[in-house]
């Protein structure tokens, strides 16, 4: 079968990719969205979203992204499940190779997002799924009435620590600095919560246990005193890594692996755009991802018209 050449392929089905898909279909571009799992991205694991406008009571991450997906369905956005392995150029075509097939497009929007970062300490991999977790909404209920630790100090860590208070009786919030980085309203809630005990200026050295997590060893930032907190779970929420391995060496990446774009979401490669968490940007939120997606399509359309 001759493979079609799409006007636009969007890689990634989080908020940036879904918004791009919506705009592209409304512009009648021959579009394909490729997603590794089901559309949603990191929002799928977000318990509650209070900072995305239009939902006065807030909305669960899952419901929000499901609404976004249904909206793209209304405009008949084709979605394929595949994991993309590599990108190559055959000017002006972009060839995208996945595990199930090869896809060709004149323009590409990279919205492949980011995944949770690991701590990289002993015990972390060994005890993955056995008390070490990166998803509070997935695994929180397994820690009913237990003592756990949350590592991190940003929005995700603090919000998820608050969520985990529904289950755990005590939560050590381990942060390497002496104050949290999260939005003020989240900080205030967390610090006022009786079940959350902040552990300041501390780094995790290792996670203890053989079949199950038994504790987490921490040391002071200056290396002075070390101690072990007795916990049954460790939630690691220390930021994200961009999903950009597949773009090497075609698209230039910054030292952290993020994609640098101009204000129109264009990468240095003509016809390749990026949107959402995968971009080098100041604030990675649903609200900023959505704007990126819309802009990227508008820029891609201009590019296609000029071809």
């Amino acid at each position: 079968m001759e493979h079609p050449v799409y006007d636009l392929i969007i890689v990634g089905g989080g908020p940036a990719g879904l918004t791009a898909g919506l705009y592209a279909r409304r512009s009648r571009l021959n579009t394909l969205l490729i997603e590794k799992l089901i559309p949603g991205g990191q929002v799928l694991t977000t318990d509650w979203v209070d900072n995305y406008p239009g939902f006065p009571e807030g909305i669960s991450g899952f419901d929000l992204v499901e609404k976004m997906r249904r909206q793209t369905e209304r405009f008949e956005l084709p979605v394929i499940n595949d994991e993309i392995l590599s990108l190559s150029l055959q000017d002006p075509d972009k060839i995208i190779k996945g595990t199930q097939g090869t896809y060709t497009a004149k323009a590409l929007i990279i919205a492949s997002g980011a995944a949770h970062k690991k701590l990289g300490v002993p015990g972390e991999d060994l005890l993955g799924g056995k008390g070490v977790s990166y998803c509070a909404t997935c695994d929180g209920p397994f820690f009913r009435d237990q003592e756990i630790a949350v590592v991190g100090g940003g929005d995700t860590a603090v919000q998820e620590a608050l969520y985990l208070t529904r289950f755990a009786k005590k939560i050590y919030l381990i942060h390497r600095r002496d104050q949290l980085r999260a939005t003020r309203i989240l900080q205030e809630k967390a610090l006022a919560h009786t079940a959350i005990q902040p552990v300041w200026n501390s780094m995790v050295e290792s996670i203890q246990g053989t079949d199950q997590v038994e504790g987490v060893s921490i040391k002071n930032k200056d290396g002075s005193s070390g101690r072990t907190l007795s916990v049954e779970g460790v939630f690691i929420l220390v930021g994200t890594l961009p999903n950009t391995e597949w773009l090497k060496p075609v698209v230039p990446l910054d030292p952290q692996g993020f994609i640098q774009t101009d204000p129109h979401m264009a990468t240095p490669i003509p016809g390749i755009f990026a949107a959402g968490d995968v971009r080098q940007k100041l604030l990675r939120q649903i609200s900023t991802a959505v704007g990126d997606g819309a802009t990227a399509v508008f820029a891609a359309e201009r590019y296609l018209e000029a071809l």
Partner: protein, 109 residues
């Protein structure tokens, strides 16, 4: 959809359906409140069609069946466990890609 190829696994039928199964079994431990579980569900259904007759695919709801996940020390979902002749061959946590699961299944065949 491969719905009909998927066995509903419970604490009650775990022994007969999984441990005494004549073919290898992949069990997806999931819950309704888990986003990544929903993310991986279509992949599990595709595998059920792809490996029909070779591998049994089951789903166990951890809320309704707390005993079995406890026995296997499961504290994260989705967890997918591959059983062969009643023993655990591989245990995979998180919403992994289809190719990861295919590779694991093919190793047991």
């Amino acid at each position: 959809m491969g719905e009909k190829n998927i066995t509903e696994v419970t604490d009650e039928n775990f022994q007969t359906e999984i441990l005494e199964s004549s073919t290898p079994v992949l069990v997806d431990f999931w819950a309704v409140w888990c986003g990544p579980c929903k993310a991986i569900a279509p992949t599990v259904e595709e595998l059920a069609v792809q490996f029909q007759g070779q591998v049994k695919i089951g789903k166990l709801n951890v809320d309704e069946n707390p005993k079995t996940p406890g026995q296997y020390g499961i504290r994260a979902i989705p967890t997918l466990i591959l059983f062969k002749n009643g023993t655990v061959v591989e245990q995979i946590t998180g919403a992994v890609s289809k190719s990861t699961l295919e590779t694991a299944i093919k190793k047991t065949l």
